[in-house]
Amino acid sequence: MRVENKSSAFKLASAVFNLLNPVPFGLFVAVMIFDFIYASTAEVLWVKSAAWLVSLGLIFAIVPRLINLGFVWFGKNRAAAAVKLDFWLNLIAVVTALLNAFVHSRDSYAAIPDALWLSVATVVLMAIGRVVLAWQNISFKEFGHE
């Protein structure tokens, strides 16, 4: 069943993807936690930290999302439905994270409550994508899977 793509370009892209792809998810989880702490304490440390985390998460997301875009839509073989779903969930998550970065540029408590639901939405969308892939037992290497 498994069709391994052995080209060195594919291996490099795969390695870069696997290195960078987890970073935004972890950062966005931290954003969500920090936003809830800020909402209850109003201690500016938390919202300022969250502002950096959401911006960094977006920057770290650029390369793995482009690699993913390339393999899902321009790969030699058709991508599985679950892989496409994961692509869309991640894309929407990037949009909510981007909106969240702008919301975090507001001063003082003006970021709340918008920041809360945006950070939850970002995390939930990315989490569903991961669960869907895991359910289908698809790892990145199998994107070329018939």
Partner: protein
């Protein structure tokens, strides 16, 4: 493959839609700024933005022979150029003019991604230019036209702003202290290291200027200490003795909070008829192109003027989590609004007799100009008529304009400090053009 292409189209479609969503928010001003001038400015509801309205012209400076425009009956000339960010002016009794050349100390830490972007935007306008950290003395050349003689008067200051002469002592308000120097009439240089009279709030220095005016009896100095944030986003812990006018005893250097809740009080002056202390105050940003109008107000002892909890009396700012209804209830409504985001910085009660009759007895106000508004506001010097110690009417007259190009792209200059010279002409410090302008009655 067709299916893949279809998918790609929807990707592009989503990208276009999301960028439209971001840019479609119309953030421009909707209230006529003329309705935001006077005792009862029109104010819409507060908004929160994804991107605050932001428009900054690019600083280009003045070309040779180019000058701001003045209303008919007045003429304008350049009396000094090539200065290092001139901010404040003081006329000495012998007719010499002191020019404080200064800019922020640049010590505010970058604690949010937004500050990185804001720094770049401000740099574009020329308002971030390096300050000289010095005072230059200008002296009129006897019988000669053109630029005045220039002397480096006092050097190695630390972001100075306010300067006052009481008797033969010169007081300079650096961002972190008030220094006292001995001055002899006619001096063109002070080499005396000076002594520290009092320290001033010196952490963060988000608003770094310390405007200063001496009481008529020479016993007190009043110092404007601006807030360390737009709206307390750096926590109230760094707002101690901030957003306040401090009163400093000239004899002992002891100081106290004279009035508070004044976000960024600059342009401190005494109104000559009433003898009352007045201040120009720059109000908060990022809740709309039409909020909150900057203002001028008489400053009452122990008065609280709202910041950060409310503005114009009881308009509560919801961006503050720990609300203080007790303070909001006693917040004083300022006397006279000058329009949103005009960034008024200089105030001068004109008491000379060179300018035409209609400009006597009132106040000139310099508006350094907006960044948080589309279209631009400010970038002019206006006249506010006064009667019996109070501003009259609900309009100001722009006297000096033309600081930016008509298309709002290029910035030639921006007015800051004001004073009048021995002949009664109005002097204007321009910290983008690095020029001192002199406005006098046009020769008949």
């Amino acid at each position: 493959m067709n299916k893949n292409k279809h998918g790609l189209l929807s990707v592009l479609g989503m990208a276009v839609v999301s960028s439209l969503v971001l840019s479609a928010c119309d953030n421009g001003a909707k209230v006529d700024i003329a309705k935001q001038i006077g005792a009862n400015p029109q104010m819409p509801g507060a908004q929160n933005f994804l991107m605050p309205p932001m428009q900054v012209p690019g600083g280009v400076g003045w070309k040779d022979g180019q000058a701001p425009k003045v209303v008919s009956g007045l003429s304008i000339e350049k009396i000094a150029s090539k200065l290092l960010h001139p901010r404040q002016l003081l006329a000495l009794p012998n007719g010499d003019i002191l020019v404080v050349e200064s800019n922020g100390p640049g010590q505010e830490a970058v604690t949010t991604p937004k500050q990185l972007i804001a720094g770049v935007v401000k740099g574009r306008s020329g308002k971030g230019g390096k300050g000289g950290n010095r005072i230059t003395l200008l002296r009129k050349k006897e019988g000669a036209a053109g630029e005045w003689e220039k002397y480096v008067f006092l050097e190695n200051l630390h972001s100075p702003f306010g300067v006052q002469l009481i008797g033969d002592n010169l007081y300079v308000a650096n961002t972190g202290n008030i220094m006292k120097y001995h001055y002899n009439t006619g001096d063109t240089r002070i080499s005396d290291p000076g002594t520290e009279l009092a320290d001033l709030p010196d952490t963060v220095n988000h608003h770094w200027t310390k405007a200063m005016v001496a009481s008529a009896d020479g016993k007190k100095l009043y110092v404007g200490s601006g807030s360390n944030s737009n709206i307390a986003e750096n926590s109230m812990a760094v707002e101690y003795r901030r957003a306040a006018v401090l009163e400093v005893d000239v004899e002992s250097g002891a100081s106290r909070i004279y009035a508070s809740g004044l976000r960024n009080p600059t342009g401190l002056q005494f109104e000559p008829k009433s003898g009352k202390l007045w201040a120009i105050v720059n109000e908060r940003d990022e809740i709309g192109a039409d909020l909150v109008p900057d203002y001028m107000t008489s400053v009452q002892e122990h008065g609280f003027y709202g910041w950060p909890y409310s503005y114009y009396g009881q308009n509560v700012d919801t961006r503050i989590k720990q609300q203080r209804p007790d303070l909001v209830a006693k917040a004083i409504k300022p006397d006279f609004a000058l329009g949103s985001h005009v960034a008024a910085l200089g105030l001068w009660f004109y008491n000379g007799n060179n300018l035409p009759e209609k400009y006597r007895g009132g106040a000139f106000v310099s508006e350094h100009g907006s960044w948080d508004r589309t279209p631009l506001s400010g970038y002019q010097v206006v006249y506010v008529p006064f009667e019996n110690g109070k501003p009259t009417g609900a309009a100001v007259e722009p006297i000096v304009t033309g600081f930016h190009s008509a298309d709002e792209k290029d910035l030639y200059g921006a007015p800051v400090g004001l004073t009048q010279d021995a002949a009664g002409a109005l002097l204007i410090a321009d910290d983008v053009g690095n020029v001192i302008w002199r406005v006098s009655a046009a020769k008949q």
